[in-house]
Symmetry: C2
Subunit: 323 residues, 2 copies
């Protein structure tokens, strides 16, 4: 039975007459075809949510009987309404050359990590590494992640939970952000085995480069008196309580802080407001990955505490959404 | 009593402990200061909505007891929940040189038009023109606009309602879009008196230029078989019924159409979807003003009817949201 059949069964089973579809950028090419198939074969009318979708933290509200969210696994602690997560299976694992390229760089005891799309590969990669003499640990999921070994840009639980048992990590994936987060949270080496490039690499000096950027942002914000604290409207990114605590902390230090509520965080939406620095409580990736796009310093909550003198720079902490 | 005092009275009067503030781009510079004043003087906690705000069609949902929407007049037909429209008074009318620059270009019988920010100037400008021998007509508002003579980018009622009584229009404002809409809907000359530049101008060949662009978009979409119909999430821009009608019309003509639901309509959010042309049922300005930003043709609903052969090009109709 094909993957689409499984989805059609769900739509028919729920007797949904209207279906909303939400796709991450990488799956947009399939949206129109899938909508058409559902309309033709299950007799439902489809709406495609065209607001960008960044993760299971970000499920679109839609005026439909069933929302189908593609490409992400649900976050177990969130309460979703009428949402079916249609997480596609991992692509076939054709060869392990990219893992073999990483293997000589790995310690004996290694933690195995990945993102949702490659989760299906972990058992085979574990077995492969064990045959080569490694002791492989895959962290169990918890209330914020669905799968063993799965990382989110805002959640490194499956790395932290095996930290005592390993001397380094192997990350299966294409980008640098998730392994960077691991390197910040657990002071152990991280090797990236990249299935797209078919090769392996370390993080190199990326962590140092980012630390310099973070230090610069903190330094630039030191003399600011007016801060804007960003709060996301997205279900799994909304940290209003944290924002209010940070505002109170700012006021304790005789700084002013205004809370800004928004959906998509984007530089042009923040132009014109009279603040000297931003504090981001939405997706943690925004402050780290997009910092150079913003005219004013963009701090994480922990960095704002450092600016206010409530946290030492040596206690630098990477931002996660663990609440 | 200052304008802020009036707002503080409203906040106190409603005993609001939490206040959401929404600003158009031009008023963002005042956001932080106003939030602070409300927090200090009315004891409420403020949230600033940082999603872009394009008009009274677009009022942010916020988890607060009172939403203050600045810079736009309410649209009488919409049902707003907990919203106070704090429409600032028009700036002082220092001199009428820009009107005098327009005056020689005007016919005797003239319709006077503007946008919300200059509404307060119309009585003085009417009197000024009458002294110069003109017969001035200012169209009464209706269920979609709040003030006499007021235009919206999606509503030209106050121009149309006096069309029989005038031989041309004077538009008081800074941009070209509103007078362009008038020129499309009523085939009479429009003169722009621009208070920012302090001068006057006609639309020149802008209408012809736009007509050529629209013709090109229609021509490019003629052979398309897959269309994407955009529906806005915004309160006063949501035309789902129209979108469904257009989808059915497309299917009658053996074309395929998929409905896309979104908040901010932006080129990068539409990249990747497999459609050959877009049909915009959100703010009518998007298809006209932003057309060159989109890789694929962006049609108005009426243009889509032309593409499908249901409307003649000679019956070209400018898109309004009059429902």
């Amino acid at each position: 039975m094909g993957e689409t059949d499984r989805l059609l069964e769900v739509v028919r089973g729920r007797k949904a007459k209207t279906v909303g579809l939400q796709f991450p950028v990488g799956l947009r090419t399939r949206a129109v075809e899938l909508a058409r198939e559902i309309e033709e074969k299950a007799g439902a009318t489809c709406l495609v949510a065209a607001d960008p979708s960044f993760g299971a933290c970000d499920v679109a509200e839609m005026p439909v009987e069933l929302i189908v969210h593609l490409g992400h696994a649900p976050m177990p602690h969130l309460r979703y309404d009428r949402v079916f997560f249609y997480d596609l299976p991992s692509p076939p694992l054709d060869n392990l050359a990219f893992v073999d390229a990483a293997e000589p760089m790995l310690p004996k005891r290694v933690g195995l990590l990945t993102t949702v799309q490659f989760r299906g590969w972990l058992p085979a990669i574990r077995e492969h590494l064990e045959r080569k003499g490694h002791e492989v640990h895959i962290g169990e999921p918890d209330r914020r992640v669905a799968y063993a070994g799965q990382l989110l840009g805002c959640d490194y639980h499956t790395a932290a939970v095996v930290a005592q048992d390993v001397d380094g990590y192997l990350y299966i994936g294409t980008g640098d952000f998730h392994p960077l987060g691991v390197a910040f949270l657990v002071d152990k080496p991280v090797v990236i085995a990249d299935p797209e490039r078919g090769s392996a690499r370390t993080l190199g000096d990326l962590k140092d480069k980012i630390l310099r950027q973070r230090h610069a942002a903190i330094a630039r914000a030191k003399d600011a008196t007016a801060f804007g604290i960003l709060v996301s409207r997205k279900l799994g990114q909304a940290r209003m309580g944290l924002a209010k605590d940070l505002k109170a902390l700012a006021e304790k230090h005789e700084k002013r802080a205004t809370i800004f509520l928004m959906d998509v965080v984007s530089p042009e939406f923040l132009e014109g407001y009279v603040v000297e620095a931003w504090v981001n409580t939405a997706c943690p990736r925004i402050a780290i990955e997009d910092v150079l796009q913003y005219r004013r310093p963009m701090l994480t909550p922990q960095e704002f505490e450092t600016v206010l003198g409530e946290r030492e720079w040596k206690d630098y902490l990477f931002d996660e959404i663990r609440a």
